[in-house]
Symmetry: C2
Subunit: 124 residues, 2 copies
Amino acid sequence: MHQPAGVHLLADLYGIAKEKLTQATVIETLLRQSATAAGAHILNSHFHSFGSGQGITGVVMLAESHISIHTWPEFGFAAADIFMCGQAQPLRALEVIRQALQPTSCQVQNIERGSVTHSDVAAT
Amino acid sequence: MHQPAGVHLLADLYGIAKEKLTQATVIETLLRQSATAAGAHILNSHFHSFGSGQGITGVVMLAESHISIHTWPEFGFAAADIFMCGQAQPLRALEVIRQALQPTSCQVQNIERGSVTHSDVAAT
């Protein structure tokens, strides 16, 4: 287990060819490759298909946190999250995913997690 | 499968009693309860313990996307994500988690996902 401070990338990927978003085993392999490219350590992975030609949902659980993806082939859309603590490089994982899925556009939010000390955060 | 537009809550929870963050089965039950409270539909769940007294990492996969959690008992810290598309109510899930873990402080980011049309997003 790593220090809690980490980076969480939320990537909304648009304009993807439908056939790239429907095969759970293909996307599972892709996300595992992306984790390795980032230098992360895979614990396990779990993928679910909503049916032939339909979307998939899946997660790769990491010692550094997780990578998840949810796809909507009917919209050419995928929502990917890459959350990595420690020394792993989440942008490298995102690049592997983008290269494979070839979205026409991509909206990425880069969010720091767990980086504040307790005294920095007002009680809510 | 639901429409891609959804809400993703990123909750950094600080000041949690260590013993609340170490038992994978307890936290798995909690996250499944939180999903049900939100009106989401559970596909499956997977939790991993890093060892006795250490942190856990886990995910509940939903028809509406996912809930994940990563805990660091040594820092009294948990990072939870609640990503739900469709009609589910992610804030209700967060409230169940907060009630159970009793953090002294909580930093929540509420992020819209997949809500723009393709033409709204510049190619990158």
